[in-house]
């Protein structure tokens, strides 16, 4: 066991039997950042002021990033600590945490490769929500009318409700909407025509 460990401290791949190196790569370390920095806010690392976790050299990469981060309240990490959701609801939480602080729904737009996530609780009503979507996706949605939906604009916001049906945003009262909306999709205007209430 000893010799196995020392010889592999170098992870010399040429010596191993199964070689699946990418064509053209050699053994030099292409050191990508240790953890994925994604666009998703929920996955941002904790920006702790606690110096304990920075003390070890093994975490120097994390330490560098943490020094730049604002020293304010900690960002929480998805799925950590590893407890089931039903356990989180079973006692009085003293502080709010991401999964129960708001109503997060995914927003997709036809033609855009990226999904976004928004907190419906952050808006007081439809006008604020639509304005936010317009800014987020750089488009115009236009005015909602009960009869014609979003006719006259390039895009129409739709949502999937609890029953799995796709509905036009704006048809039901706001409170009912935020309690039944599972996800949002901004459709191209032409496609959405079938959804709005029509004569």
């Amino acid at each position: 066991m000893e010799s196995k460990v020392t010889c592999e401290n170098d992870l010399n791949f040429k010596a191993t039997e199964l070689r699946l190196g990418l064509p053209g790569t050699d053994d030099s370390e292409k050191h990508t950042p240790p953890s994925v920095r994604s666009n998703k806010r929920a996955l941002s690392h904790e920006t702790t002021e606690d110096s304990r976790s920075k003390s070890n050299s093994g975490t120097s990469d994390f330490g560098d990033d943490e020094k730049e981060a604002p020293p304010a309240a900690k960002a929480q990490v998805v799925g950590w600590p590893p407890i089931r959701s039903y356990r989180k609801n079973c006692f009085q939480p003293k502080k709010t945490e991401p999964e129960s602080a708001g109503i997060y729904v995914k927003v997709s737009m036809d033609g855009a490769p990226y999904l976004r996530k928004i907190d419906l609780k952050g808006y007081k009503g439809y006008p604020q929500l639509l304005k936010a979507l317009e800014i987020m996706f750089k488009l115009t949605i236009g005015q909602y009318s009960e009869r014609e939906g979003y006719n006259g604009s390039d895009y129409a916001p739709t949502y999937e409700d609890k029953d799995g049906d796709w509905m036009l945003v704006g048809d039901v009262p706001w409170e009912m909407f935020i309690s039944s909306c599972k996800r949002l999709r901004i459709m191209k205007g032409s496609e959405a025509r079938g959804l709005g209430s029509y004569v």
């Binding site: 460990v5 240790p34 070890n56 407890i83």
Partner: protein, 582 residues
């Protein structure tokens, strides 16, 4: 000739062999044993529903009576698997409806179960007797109503930690008056109310009822009546354990409990009012499993209850128990085998209770049979882990969660490598391990060297390089499931150990450094693995190949790439996927 043993004799001999491992071994002896065995296998366990297809299972085992299926990977419990990933049970039900008309039992874990699936089950299997759904989702109480109404011989209906849309359609009332067969009824995870009168009548007429787990909508004052109708209960999950202090209710409760002389398991305890706890004391001496993980009561009240349970074998409790409570546990419950301590305030910045590593050390000293631990705390030392390891070499499951990621030994400020190293070195039968705290590649070297019986390893915010992952994959002989999040592990360790992945059930890696290019190559080179890239940001081929993907899920399979993937999952190396990218 030695081969002239009649088939019936062999079949009779095989009927005494129940474990899957043994049955699999029997089937490898020779072709005729394979044939005989496959016709008389009655129970199937499929640990990953995508490792095999219904058609393949049915073709090999035509006379199955009991099926267990597991769907999503374990990290789905913590919201790391996006909704819509998969794990649909309907195709299995639909295939089995035709092939296994005599199916009796179905046990599903982490699968998506729809009302249609439940309705199909209720109509297709005349002898259906047991439905156990653990951590499943996708159905409503309408589906349960169908099961209740149509399954004439239902013995077991167990819902454990499922996410059920409660339509409050009185599903419980759909059990016909003629139903008297129930042995186990468990609906503690349901949100809504059930009809109390229907419940009481059901409990009255099911005289074989052994297990009854209510949900929190059943108020305390209904409990005495239920208990009086079911004195034969062995397993009770109470509803809300709260009411105004009424002496009359207290004494009715006490008498009702006293009548349940066979009670071994107590759970529920929502909204517990401590004054009502002594009503359970008459049964405590017989209790072997106590689940207080919803009981928001303080240590002194917990201690009083635990001291009554001298024969306790398994305890689940919130960290309100504190070190003092764990000391009392260690002194009173010498038969304790399993301890789970859950956090009462997991997202708080600081400790709200006085629960430290000392509590766990106490229990490890005082309880010689302790072999299974799940412990959430905020501080740990290598010294404590050494002590626990030396005290309990019989440990088989050890899951430690230090709430703040990358927390070092708080006394020495060192990583916890040595402490966990001691665990794997001393606990030679360790089958399951979850790591936390500050950890370098060294801990993985220890694990790869010593943890030869380890089957499942969970890793988060640990390690420094691919060497860490390499140690585990190249060293742990018995490894079946490996799940990793937020670790700097990447392509190299996967390439070097690609063939190891075929000996495991599955590998999960999220927020690590695995590149899209590596996944493609792995998928192409290893046709017996499904290499799934799960990425909600955008199709991975729109970004550079060297960029890390969000999540990787690799599992061995004989069913090929699955056909039910949502838009954010791609199977690498699949011919079809390849052409989509070109």
């Amino acid at each position: 000739m030695a081969y002239s043993f009649p088939e019936e004799v062999l079949e009779h001999v095989f009927s005494f062999i129940h474990s899957d491992k043994d049955r699999n071994a029997v089937s490898l002896v020779c072709k005729s044993w394979y044939e005989i065995e496959r016709w008389c296998r009655r129970r199937i366990f499929v640990g990953n529903c995508y490792a095999v297809s219904p058609r393949i299972v049915i073709r090999r085992f035509p006379e199955v009576r009991s099926v267990s299926l597991k769907g999503k990977p374990h990290f789905a419990d913590f919201n790391l698997v996006p909704e819509g990933w998969g794990g649909y049970v309907y195709p299995w039900i639909s295939a089995m409806a035709e092939a296994y008309p005599w199916l009796e039992e179905l046990r599903l874990k982490r699968m998506v179960v729809t009302d249609e699936a439940l309705e199909l089950i209720s109509r297709s299997f005349k002898n259906f007797s047991a439905l156990v759904l653990s951590s499943c989702e996708g159905f409503t109480t309408d589906g349960l109503a169908a099961i209740a109404a149509n399954c004439r011989n239902l013995k077991e209906l167990d819902l454990r930690e499922c996410d059920v849309d409660d339509r409050s359609g009185n599903w419980l009332s759909h059990f016909p008056e003629s139903c008297t067969s129930l042995v186990s009824l468990s609906f503690s995870c349901l949100e809504g109310e059930v009809s109390f009168s229907a419940l009481e009548r059901l409990v009255s007429r099911c005289t074989n009822l052994r297990a009854l787990r209510l949900n929190h909508s059943v108020p305390l004052d209904k409990l005495p009546n239920l208990l009086r109708r079911a004195p034969q209960l062995v397993d009770l999950g109470m509803g809300a354990y709260t009411a105004e202090l009424r002496p009359e209710l207290y004494s009715r409760l006490g008498n009702a409990f006293a009548g349940c002389k066979g009670l071994k398991s107590l759970s529920g305890f929502w909204d517990v009012v401590p004054s009502y706890l002594p009503a359970t004391y008459s049964v405590c001496a017989g209790i072997t499993f106590l689940n207080l993980s919803y009981a928001t009561i303080q240590s002194p009240d917990l201690i009083k209850l635990i001291r009554q349970c001298r024969n306790l074998q398994r305890l689940w409790v919130l960290d309100y128990i504190e070190d003092s409570g764990l000391n009392a546990l260690a002194a009173s419950c010498k038969d304790l085998e399993e301890l789970r301590v859950f956090p009462s305030d997991p997202f708080g910045q600081e400790a709200n209770v006085s629960l430290t590593e000392q509590g766990l050390v106490s229990v490890s000293e005082g309880c010689p049979k302790l072999q299974s631990v799940l412990y959430f705390c905020r501080q740990m030392t290598n010294a404590a882990l050494f002590t626990i390891a030396r005290n309990r070499p019989n440990m088989t499951r050890f899951r430690l969660c230090i709430i703040e990621p990358r927390t070092p030994d708080y006394l020495t400020l060192q990583p916890l490598d040595a402490g966990f190293g001691a665990i794997v070195e001393h606990c030679k039968d360790l089958r399951r391990l979850s790591l936390s705290g500050l950890l370098t590649d060294l801990v993985f070297e220890y694990i790869g060297t010593h943890a030869q019986k380890l089957e499942m390893l969970s890793v988060a915010f640990a390690g420094e390089s691919d060497l860490g992952l390499h140690h585990v994959l190249s060293g742990c002989k018995s490894l079946r499931k490996l799940e990793i999040r937020d670790c700097p592990f990447g392509d190299k360790a996967l390439f070097v150990n690609a063939s190891k992945l075929e000996t495991m059930r599955s590998l999960w890696m999220s927020s690590c450094s695995v590149s899209f290019g590596a996944c493609k190559l792995l998928g192409q080179k290893m046709p017996r693995l499904n290499v799934e890239v799960i990425d909600e940001r955008a199709p991975p081929d729109l970004r550079p190949e060297s960029e890390p993907i969000e999540r990787l899920y690799v599992y061995r399979t004989i069913a090929g790439p699955r056909l039910d993937m949502p838009g954010f999952v791609w199977t690498m190396g699949d011919e079809k996927s390849a052409t989509e990218f070109s």
